[in-house]
């Protein structure tokens, strides 16, 4: 069984982004970029399925600027077998990404696509579900456990109030939650090996996909700043503040 894992290049989760002075966006020049943490979890899960013998080939895909190659190499260092870059400088929105991924699925015919549940830059939480809709496949979102059982995947999903287990018929879409696994670190030999793995590049036009954005960002602002408050000396002072100043208890 072949698995496709879309991976996104995002601002590293340790970076606190700053809004540009002209409110046109956030300043991502000279900022550390990394693979979206949920995508790392997706790659790791695919590798574990391969190690268990349920999967034979893992193809990582990234859509975006040329530097997404680094993200693909990173995925291949964790264990993906090859990479596909869909190169564009156009700002990609989830529907466009889903259409590009559908075109790749049509070519590659995987039985499973594992995506991150959300990307930590735009926090959209859409792409996997959109891809599932475009393919008319089943979807299991916010997965915390995945088992392949014959021609179905049994997936435990994080829902309000707890967990829900569903069985999705293959081919299917799975999106990862944080507790699905802890991604391994890529070892130096694997990083070296990844450099030699196959990486194919396409343009959106090669795939026949129109990626024109549907949403325009009019402005990006800093959220209202919380003023740091005061330190209180002891528990009695805290209770006094809560009762008499904030009046919340």
């Amino acid at each position: 069984m072949k698995v496709l894992v879309p991976v996104k290049r995002v601002v590293d989760y340790n970076v606190k982004v700053r809004v540009k002075a002209d409110n046109s966006g956030v300043d991502i020049a000279n900022v550390k970029m990394s693979m979206n943490p949920f995508c790392e979890i997706a790659v790791e899960e695919a590798v574990r399925l391969k190690e268990k013998g349920a999967v034979t080939e893992i193809v990582a895909v990234s859509a975006g600027v040329a530097q997404c190659q680094e993200t693909l190499r990173n995925a291949m260092a964790i264990g993906a077998d090859r990479g596909i870059l869909i190169e564009t400088d156009v700002e990609l929105q989830p529907l466009a990404v889903a259409k590009l991924l559908k075109a790749v699925v049509d070519r590659e015919q995987p039985q499973l696509v594992i995506l991150g549940k959300q990307a930590i830059d735009d926090d959209a939480n859409q792409t996997g579900q959109m891809l599932a809709a475009l393919l008319n496949w089943g979807q299991a979102t916010f997965a915390s456990k995945v088992e392949i059982e014959g021609n179905a995947a049994k997936v435990t999903c994080e829902v309000d109030g707890g967990l829900e287990t569903v069985s999705v018929k293959l081919p299917a879409i799975i999106t990862t939650d944080l507790r699905l696994n802890e991604p391994r670190y890529a070892t130096l030999p694997n990083i070296m090996k990844a450099k030699k793995k196959q990486l194919d590049t396409f343009k959106p036009a090669d795939l026949g996909v129109d990626v024109t954005p549907r949403l325009t960002t009019l402005k990006v602002e800093e959220p209202p700043k919380r003023k740091g408050g005061v330190k209180v000396a002891d528990v009695a002072a805290l209770i006094d503040k809560l009762k008499n100043e904030a009046k919340v208890i």
Binding site: D123, S167, K169, V220
Partner: protein, 310 residues
């Protein structure tokens, strides 16, 4: 303009998140209709019809909707979508599973997690874990939207006079099936609706300590209980206690952060609380930079003392 709100419900009743979405729909303007997709869900539909501002409730009631599988729910939404300019769902796990599917089937973009309606095409939403707010304008003829509950007041549960109209329920699409669920029954207020939240982090050290130290305080305050991801990952509490970028977004009157450092991913989930209290033994912990009242102390001394003196 006409808005269709996808109800969040458990068949027998309407979930609170629906009420916030109805307020967002009202802010957009035009008719507000609610779609209830379920099985034996007449009670939920009747409840929706009572909500102030709702003029019509569509009820799709069928066995295929017993477990509200997102594939079937999305097909049902698309079947009635014609004529609506805005389709809205809460930004809950269910809403997030269904809405993008609806958007893609309609070939429309989705606007996720809106916090403010600027006009019928323009919305404000958080990006980068709430470190920036983007104002985005949609050029699509139909807007598919998920709504951040804490950003909109709940609509009144009475005063409405909507009519309930039963529509044909679609059959099962056969793409997925329900296996089992483990839902924890909470004795306390739900996190996203609570007035006071007592929240604990890795500083508690264990699940036993979390319960032993925090439960009496939460009981005394009638509070809901939350946690950091570190506390959830370490198994102190179940996953749905998690507050943050990838957990629940909360905005209570009072948030008491105990033994947690205040990572940006955690702050993303609670920094809109009215009053924040932090108890941490490290005077340099980042949580103090957002706390209205900070107490530098060992939590194992301070929290029992606080509970006793309240």
């Amino acid at each position: 303009m006409a808005n269709l709100v996808i109800a969040e419900h458990d068949h027998g009743s309407l979930k609170a998140a629906t009420l916030n979405v109805i307020t967002a729909a009202t802010a957009i303007g035009g008719d507000v209709h609610v779609l209830v997709v379920g099985h034996n869900a007449k009670a939920a539909a009747d409840a929706a019809a009572q909500v102030a501002g709702v003029s019509k409730v569509l009820l799709a009631d069928g066995a295929a909707h017993a477990h509200q599988l997102p594939e079937n729910t999305a097909s049902q939404v698309v079947a009635v979508a014609g004529g609506y300019t805005h389709i809205l769902a809460p930004a809950t796990p269910h809403g997030k599973a269904v809405a993008p599917r609806v958007a893609a089937l309609l070939d429309k973009a989705q606007i996720s997690d809106i916090m403010k309606v600027i006009d019928a095409d323009t919305f404000m939403r958080p990006i980068y874990a709430g470190n920036a707010y983007a104002t985005v304008k949609s050029s699509d003829s139909v807007k598919v939207i998920t709504v951040r509950g804490t950003a909109f007041a709940a609509a009144a549960q009475s005063g409405g006079s909507g009519a309930v109209e039963t529509i044909a329920a679609l059959g099962d699409g056969g793409l997925s099936s329900f296996v089992s669920a483990e839902i924890v029954k909470l004795e306390r207020p739900e996190l996203t609706a609570a007035k006071i939240i007592v929240s604990g982090g890795r500083g508690l050290g264990s699940g036993e300590k979390y319960r032993e130290v925090l439960t009496p305080l939460a009981d005394k305050l009638g509070a809901a209980m939350g946690a950091s991801r570190a506390a959830v990952d370490a198994g102190y509490v179940p996953n749905d206690y998690q507050v943050g970028q990838t957990g629940k977004i909360v905005a209570p009157e009072l948030y008491i952060a105990i033994g947690m450092s205040g990572a940006i991913q955690h702050l993303a989930g609670m920094k809109d609380s009215k009053v924040i209290v932090a108890i941490n033994k490290d005077p340099d912990a980042p949580i103090f930079s957002v706390a209205d009242y900070g107490l530098v102390a060992d939590l194992f001394d301070a929290v029992p003392e606080l509970t006793a003196k309240l």
